[in-house]
């Protein structure tokens, strides 16, 4: 597949949050503030890109030759957990200011299903190395875009008078539903 259309597909039309429901927890949970949404998104992008390369090599050069493909879930989770831990230490040491901004989101990434989801999709879609790279970056940027847009809407919603039983999460999910409808219309770009 053409790399540009693959990028657009992963970025907009098949956005992982709105069509594959990955990363819903941070999407609904942490994205009520603009700044934290962007921070979370960028941290995810970084972790996904690096761990996508690692898991791709791990899968095709270790697991496949040794016929232990069934260990992929376990080993990928380990890679992600280690990556997150390492990033946390690196950023903390080299750039304390960035750590202060990203700090609280980093440990959350381990259990972010968007990360593991993208890694598993790379394998199950049978991408080549380059396609895998484009897909991972596109999807995680798509995640950033969506949680950013969503956080701006959430900030606005917080000021509105909403029926009590819709307050908080229900209205957030209904907003997400409308966003999903809009994003589905991008097909054909």
């Amino acid at each position: 597949m053409n790399l540009i259309s693959l990028f657009m597909m992963s970025f907009l039309t098949e956005n992982i949050v709105l069509t594959k429901f990955l990363g819903i927890c941070p999407f609904v949970g942490t994205s009520s503030k603009e700044k934290s949404a962007v921070g979370m998104g960028l941290a995810v992008t970084l972790v996904v890109t690096i761990s996508a390369i690692l898991t791709y090599l791990l899968y095709y050069y270790i697991l496949v030759p040794t016929h232990t493909e069934y260990l992929k879930t376990l080993s990928f989770v380990l890679v992600v957990a280690c990556m997150v831990q390492m990033m946390e230490m690196l950023i903390k040491k080299n750039n304390p200011k960035l750590y202060k901004n990203l700090g609280i989101y980093l440990p959350l990434i381990t259990t972010n299903c968007a990360v593991l989801g993208i890694l598993l999709l790379n394998i199950s879609n049978g991408y080549s190395f380059l396609e895998m790279l484009v897909y991972s970056i596109g999807s995680s940027l798509g995640f950033t875009l969506v949680i950013y847009i969503f956080s701006t809407i959430r900030e606005n919603l917080a000021r509105r008078n909403i029926p009590y039983c819709f307050k908080g999460y229900p209205i957030a999910l209904i907003t997400a539903s409308i966003m999903a409808l809009l994003f589905a219309r991008y097909v054909g770009i």
Partner: protein, 212 residues
Amino acid sequence: MKTIQNGIINENPVFVLLLGLCSTLAITTRFENAYVMGICVTVVLIVSNFIISCIHKLIPTSVKTPVYIIIIATLVTILELLLQYYAKDIYDVFGIYLPLIVVNCIILGRALAVASKQNIWKSTLDGIGIGIGYTLALMAVATVREVLGNNTITFMDSLSTLTGYRSMYRVFPENNFIPMQFLVSPAGAFLVVGILMAIFNAIRRGGKHESN
């Protein structure tokens, strides 16, 4: 008994704690998928709660989370292999959402919040309660989406290779009901869960809303 009831109503994982939404939204296009996924998560949850509450005193606090994740991932891998062998159809339907049970926040969340603090009996019961609550929530969402979106209800179809029995029904007479296919699409999933959550909130809080 109270722990179980707590898992179903006061701490319903989907509608109240808002955990494990990925699979809730993704696989609830058919009633069958919903209860099979519910059972899978329940089994993993009970076993992981049991194991973790047995060994939590041996694990240093600093490596708590990674160790729990490995335990959960091992259980999920076992489940994956079993389903792949015994129920290939359902395994294909779930796709990546089956391995994603590992990062389903319900399981790790309960491991950290309950299993690493309570005794074995209590945390196993908690697993059962939360598991049932999750399964019921999935079934509710799937019923709405399948009945209104596709005008069918599937009790057993992909599983029929395992049980040798198939049951799928049409709900409304065909000529005076137009299925809202929008509900089966991703956008419909968000909408149905949002509305059900609001209804659940309204029922649960009863008349107490004046206090907020």
